[in-house]
Symmetry: C2
Subunit: 472 residues, 2 copies
């Protein structure tokens, strides 16, 4: 969430400190933390200005996350206007809110004026309505209008993530005129990689990469070297969709346009990298029933966010328990069944979650679609059968030897084969069906797959055993 | 894996076809696939050249993945030298090898000469030694030397991913000279966002972003506007580590240097986005025991890659079964215990995997380190206790009502609390310990956590019950 490539501060800091603030394992060096802690306690503003205020925003963010809440508050207070608000885009939401809440609105307003609009929006969007309005009211008119417009776009849309600073020129300018304009103009974005070509109504006509400008003779007109862009991103497009365009076409930045095709901002790859990271993260978390919690959340918040998933699983757990209860009489006769049945259910669960994970990720990365679903399903069926045979035989052998009972061995081997096959089918079909139904397969696949592998496992093993002992 | 921002072909294609090859759901439009299929069958080279050869490399890659193997082979044959080899960087490894294997080495050599070096390396590195040497031998000398050097760096290193084409100028040149050089020089990279400043021995002195050049008067010397870079990436640095630098400092590209600090190439954000994606992917897959398999892998390959994980889980499954067998006598007396015990074990597993996933991801993204591990562990303990009480009470109530037995209810409630707490502790401690021991926590955490929640679940529930029924 920062200017592309900007690293003046890092250099200054590294030159002075002559060192890296990170230890080998990627955490912040303990001695640096100790120094910072001591300076905060001593109110040594000079040290903090020289060694903390000059850190790169992401380093300052890491530092804020590594110190205690009291130290955080004191540090922000001591740094005053030297505190780089951009660092707030690099910390957990809970810490961001904690810091912003303690800062006077006037100070935030003063600091936010210096930020790129995308960073400003990132910080403002989490504030409550009242604080936000108060801060906006203290900003210069154009700044205020820009930020309000960005904030008007829906959450997680391209309009929210875009930067409203960009360079735009008319098509009839020459390359020379354009270069001269950039040499003279003071109010350019901090860094940029392409310039946009617009008509007088701000309608987007094309794009020119900077390297193209540098390779072209001064007298040529911009319209002769601009290219049309296939991906002007509508401001209300979901950020995830925009990220997919960046990924697919290896874009560095893309124009964001409003409903009338007018240029309103630019989305850059650094914001998109964050989105890509977040989306992959979300899938991992959802697959194991964790919401979008953060490390700095409180115990109660964390507990509250995890309970729903546990409750859903509890329902399926009782359903599979009720399957077991159908065979109470058989278990009473042959206790070995009770000992072995969790193996059948558990191994099915493992196999099912392997297939499910592959399917969920393939859907998320759009590698799996109607054209290859059938082929992939057949492959999973094959894998389920092969692994079912392998694991089934192995389990049968061990169980048979353990209980000195060839029947038990045969029963568990068969049940295992059935359950591994069911697991493979559930692992591929459930995410596909959820996806088709418009639900996010990452969120709910695991519950359904476990429900199926548990009930199938218990039912096949205990059912087969009941039937076998009855006919013997 | 392509030039940044390059999209000439897309434009041409879209202008001509006037349309998008993708359907709403992100898969390739069925009618387009049908047209391509028919043209392949009819050997309609003209259509294929106009509508397939001109696709963007990532679109061609998607198309190759969506058609049948026979069609793939025929398509590549029919397109001949119009087939854009870059598309191979966008498909699964199995498909890449299948296509490359059928192409004569001379044709590959001819095509590889046109690729950017990073794409060429990406394709060459998967080939067997013999084919690779034959292809390299047919390349012009400088090209061959460049590719060999990149291939000499270890797999997954920055040196393998870098592009060896870059623009470098001496520090005493003026901005004007530099611009004139770029206007006249034919052999520039297809696209670039910064130029490097080097001494006569190719030692890296600094970097200038293109926007900086465009803002500066012609007569100024490059050395006055260049900045030193803090992140010249050693060519043998792991690509994951390089990606972290890009992410942390929002880089667009970075110089890659050899052991002597000499500039050998440039690493660009588009390659890094792929790495970031791959790394997140890897963690998801490893957490559920899937290796780096791909959708196009065969049944046997897939089965082989998944069996080891199943075998490891099988061992832990037998261990927990042996815990159950300790209480055979109790189960024989009270079958309800057998019915309910999977609930205790299973819910512990769910809670454990929640904590474990959060921990593994926090470690991977370096949000969790020695400075906050203790705080996070305390939070997890709190969450385990709260959720253990909640779920325990609920399960106790339902189980008590189900079996009309208040003792059973009390026993399962207590066992559940114990197991949820154990799950929380296992979920945080196991990944931390594995990480400390230098192992990848994503790979093996799940097995250990399940082993602990299963055995604790069975042991606490059956053990408590045995003790309770004994003293009653």
């Amino acid at each position: 969430m920062s200017d592309i490539g900007e690293d003046k501060r890092v250099r200054t800091r590294r030159e002075e400190a002559g060192d890296d603030i990170y230890a080998e394992d990627g955490s912040i060096r303990a001695d640096f933390l100790a120094m910072v802690g001591a300076s905060i306690a001593d109110r040594d503003v000079l040290f903090l200005r020289n060694h903390v205020a000059r850190l790169h925003e992401s380093e300052l963010g890491d530092l804020l996350e590594s110190i205690l809440p009291d130290q955080r508050r004191a540090l922000v207070r001591l740094l005053g206007k030297d505190f780089d608000l951009t660092a707030l885009t690099e910390v957990d939401e809970a810490i961001r809110l904690e810091i912003v809440d303690q800062m006077p609105n006037a100070q935030i307003a003063a600091a936010i004026g210096d930020l790129d609009s995308d960073d400003a929006v990132y910080i403002l969007e989490d504030l409550d309505q009242e604080d936000r309005e108060e801060i906006l009211a203290q900003l210069p008119f154009t700044e205020r209008v820009r930020l309000r417009r960005a904030l008007d776009y829906p959450e997680s849309s391209a309009g929210r993530r875009m930067q409203t600073e960009f360079v735009a020129v008319p098509p009839f300018w020459t390359v020379g005129q354009t270069i001269d304009y950039m040499r003279d103009e003071e109010d350019l974005p901090d860094s940029f990689t392409q310039i946009f070509v617009i008509d007088p109504t701000f309608k987007l006509l094309g794009v020119v990469d900077l390297d193209r400008i540098l390779r072209t003779k001064r007298q040529l007109k911009i319209e002769t070297i601009m290219r049309q862009t296939n991906y002007p991103i509508p401001a209300d497009m979901d950020q995830e969709e925009a990220a997919q365009l960046f990924e697919q076409y290896d874009l560095l930045s893309a124009a964001v346009v409003d409903d009338n095709g007018r240029l309103v901002g630019v989305l850059t790859i650094d914001d998109v990298v964050d989105v890509i990271q977040e989306e992959a993260e979300e899938d991992i978390m959802r697959l194991s029933g964790v919401g979008d919690e953060e490390l700095s959340d409180t115990v109660v918040d964390t507990s509250r966010s995890r309970v729903p998933w546990l409750l859903v699983n509890l329902v399926t757990a009782f359903i599979s328990a009720s399957v077991i209860s159908l065979f109470e009489a058989t278990i009473e006769q042959v206790v070995a069944l009770a000992i072995l049945m969790p193996i059948v259910a558990g191994m099915g669960g493992n196999a099912g979650s392997q297939t499910m994970t592959v399917t969920v990720r393939a859907l998320a990365t759009r590698n799996l679609d109607i054209h290859n679903a059938w082929r992939v399903a057949r492959r999973e069926a094959g894998v389920g059968l092969i692994n079912g045979c392998l694991i089934g035989c192995l389990v049968g052998l061990v169980a048979g030897l353990w209980f000195h009972d060839i029947h038990i061995g045969g029963l568990i081997a068969t049940a295992m084969l059935i359950n591994m096959f069911a697991a493979a089918m559930a692992g591929i079909m459930i995410p596909l069906l959820l996806d088709r139904a418009g639900a996010d397969p990452a969120v709910s696949s695991a519950v359904f797959v476990t429900a199926i592998t548990d009930t199938t496992g218990f039912f096949s093993f205990l059912g087969l055993a009941t039937w076998w002992f009855a006919i013997r």
